[in-house]
Amino acid sequence: MATVSEGEQRVWTRKDLIGLEDLSRDELDMILDTAPQFLAVSERESGIKKVPVLQGRLVVNWFYEPSTRTRTSFELAAKRLSADTLTMNVAASSAKKGETLHDTLYNIEAMYTDIVVIRHSAAGAAGILARRHPSHIINAGDGAHEHPTQALLDAFTIRQHVRRTRGDARAGLNGLRVAIIGDIAHSRVARSNVWGLTKLGARVVLCGPRTLLPGAFTKLGVDVTSDLREAIDGADVIYVLRIQLERQSKCLFPSIREYIRLFRIDKESLKAAKPDALIMHPGPINRDVEVSSEVADGPRNVILEQVTNGVAVRMAVMHLLVNKPRVAVQGAEQ
C-alpha cells in the first residue's frame, strides 16, 4: 500500500516511479489530479512560467538511448519547478569505459542529486537502480518494458478531452474504448498504457501485425486483433504507435508498403471509427507510414496537446515523489 488514507485525503508515499504496473488506481488518480495546477503554470501568458516547488533540488537526466522529446520534457518540467538540471551525455560518459550502472549512479549521487530520470535499453534497469539507491528514480523508458510518464500524459490528455467535450469536470476514462495500433511487441508505450488505461476503467484493444502482437496481452484483460477495422470500430481513442523503421531489418513484417495498406490510420480506414474519435501518437511520427499526414494534422488529433500535457504530468510526478503532499479526493471539501 503506497497510499495512506487520511480522512478525505491520500498521502503519496512512493519514492520512485518505475512503472504503471506497480501503481494503484488511487495513485494514478493522484498523479492525474495533481497535474492541472502545473498545466496552469506553463500556460501563464505574461507571468513567470515557474513555481518554487523544487527550488535548490538537482534533477539529473540520464539517457542511454536517444530521446529528444522525453528528455526535453523532463528537463523543462524540472526547470518549471525551479530545480537545477543536469543532462548526462552517455555517449561521452564512463559507460564507454566499463563503469557499471550502479557505480555511475553512486557517483551522480555523491554530488547530492535528488531525482534521477533514466532511460535505458534494458528492461528493469530503472527498477534495479531504485531498489538500491536513495535518489528518486523516474523511469523514462526501460527497453520494451515501461514508459510510465508517457502513459500518464496520455491518460491525462484523454481525461482532459472527455471533461471538455462532456462539460463534466469529474469525468474519467471509465468505459472508454481505446485502440492501440502498431508494433505492440516492442512498445513500452503500449505496455504502460495497457496498465494505466485498464486500471482507469478504459477498455483497450491492441492491433498490429501478428508478428508484433503477443497473444499474452489477453491475460491483462485487453482485446487483441490484427483486423484494423475491428479494432477501431467504436473506439473513442485511436492511439497510433510509431513504426520503428530501424527494426525493419529484423523482418518482423513483410514490407512497409504492406503495413501501410493494412494498418495505416488515414481517412479511408477512419471510416470505421466514431466521427469524434481522438487521434493520439507518442511521437516522433513517421508521416504517411503509421498515420497519414491528413489525419495527423486533422481536427481529431491531440498530438501536440500530449506534448504540452507531458510537461505538466512530469512536474506532478516530481512534486509527488519529492514533496509527498497530501492529495484531497477530487471534488471533496478541502
Binding site: 485525503q9 498521502v11 489530479d33 495533481t34 492541472p36 495546477q37 496552469a40 503554470v41 501563464r44 505574461s46 507571468g47 513567470i48 515557474k50 513555481v51 518554487p52 516547488v53 469536470a169 519529492v322 514533496n323 509527498k324 503532499p325 497530501r326 492529495v327 484531497a328 479526493v329 477530487q330 471534488g331 471539501e333 478541502q334
Partner: protein
C-alpha cells in the same frame, strides 16, 4: 471539525449576520479608500477566500455600480512548508484569474490570518503573474499568532487566540452555513488551514 461541533466549549464568534456586516463594512472601506474601481481586483485565497471575495465584489457593486474583477489563488505551490508532507494539494482548486495584474490594485482575500505564511506565499504567487501597482489584504478573522510581519489592511474581526485554540470558519458556499467558531485548548498546534 466534527469534534468541535459537538463540544460544549465551542463559541460562535461570528454568525451569518456578523459575517455579512463585516463584509459590507470592508467593502465600504475599500470604496472609501478611493481607488479607481476598474483597477481593483479581488483575489480570493482558496478555498474559503474565494466565496468571500465574490461576496465582497457584490457588496462593492451594490455601493458603486462597478463590480471589481475576482480571481482565485491556490498559493499551494508557493508555501514554505511544501517539503513537510503536510501540504494538501489543491485538487480542482487551481489558481485562476483571467485578467492581467500589471498596474492593478490587487486585494488578497482570506478567511483567517494567523502566522501570515499563506499571505507570504500569495504575495510571491501574484508577483509571478505580473507587477500590481499595489497589493492589499482583507481577512475575515485575525487570530493573531503572527510569524511574519504581515498585517491585514481590511479586517472583519480580531480574535486573541492561543496556538492550541481551534478557529474554524464556515462559509455557506462551501460548508452550507456562515459561522466563525472558536474552541479553546483543543489541538496541539494551530489549525493547519489557518497559517
Amino acid at each position: 471539525m466534527n469534534e468541535a461541533d459537538n463540544s460544549p466549549e465551542m463559541t460562535v464568534v461570528m454568525d451569518h449576520e456578523a459575517i455579512d456586516a463585516a463584509l459590507r463594512r470592508i467593502a465600504q472601506e475599500i470604496v472609501a479608500d478611493g481607488e479607481a474601481l476598474p483597477d481593483v481586483a479581488l483575489l480570493g485565497i482558496l478555498s474559503r477566500g474565494r466565496p468571500l471575495a465574490d461576496r465582497l465584489a457584490a457588496c462593492i457593486e451594490s455601493l458603486t455600480g462597478t463590480r471589481p474583477r475576482v480571481g482565485s489563488l491556490a498559493t499551494t505551490l508557493y508555501r514554505d512548508d511544501l517539503r513537510s508532507g503536510r501540504v494538501p494539494a489543491t485538487v480542482g482548486n487551481e489558481t485562476h484569474f483571467d485578467f492581467d495584474v500589471d498596474g492593478m490594485t490587487v486585494i488578497l482575500v482570506d478567511d483567517v490570518i494567523a502566522a501570515g505564511r499563506t499571505i507570504r506565499a500569495a504575495l510571491d504567487e501574484v508577483m509571478d503573474y505580473g507587477r500590481p501597482q499595489r497589493i492589499q489584504l482583507a481577512c475575515l478573522v485575525d487570530r493573531g499568532l503572527r510569524e511574519l510581519p504581515i498585517q491585514p489592511d481590511y479586517l472583519g474581526w480580531s480574535l486573541a487566540t492561543a496556538p492550541n485554540d481551534h478557529v474554524s470558519v464556515r462559509i455557506r458556499e462551501i460548508d452550507g452555513e456562515d459561522a466563525v467558531l472558536l474552541e479553546r485548548g483543543v489541538s496541539g498546534a494551530a489549525d493547519e488551514e489557518n497559517t
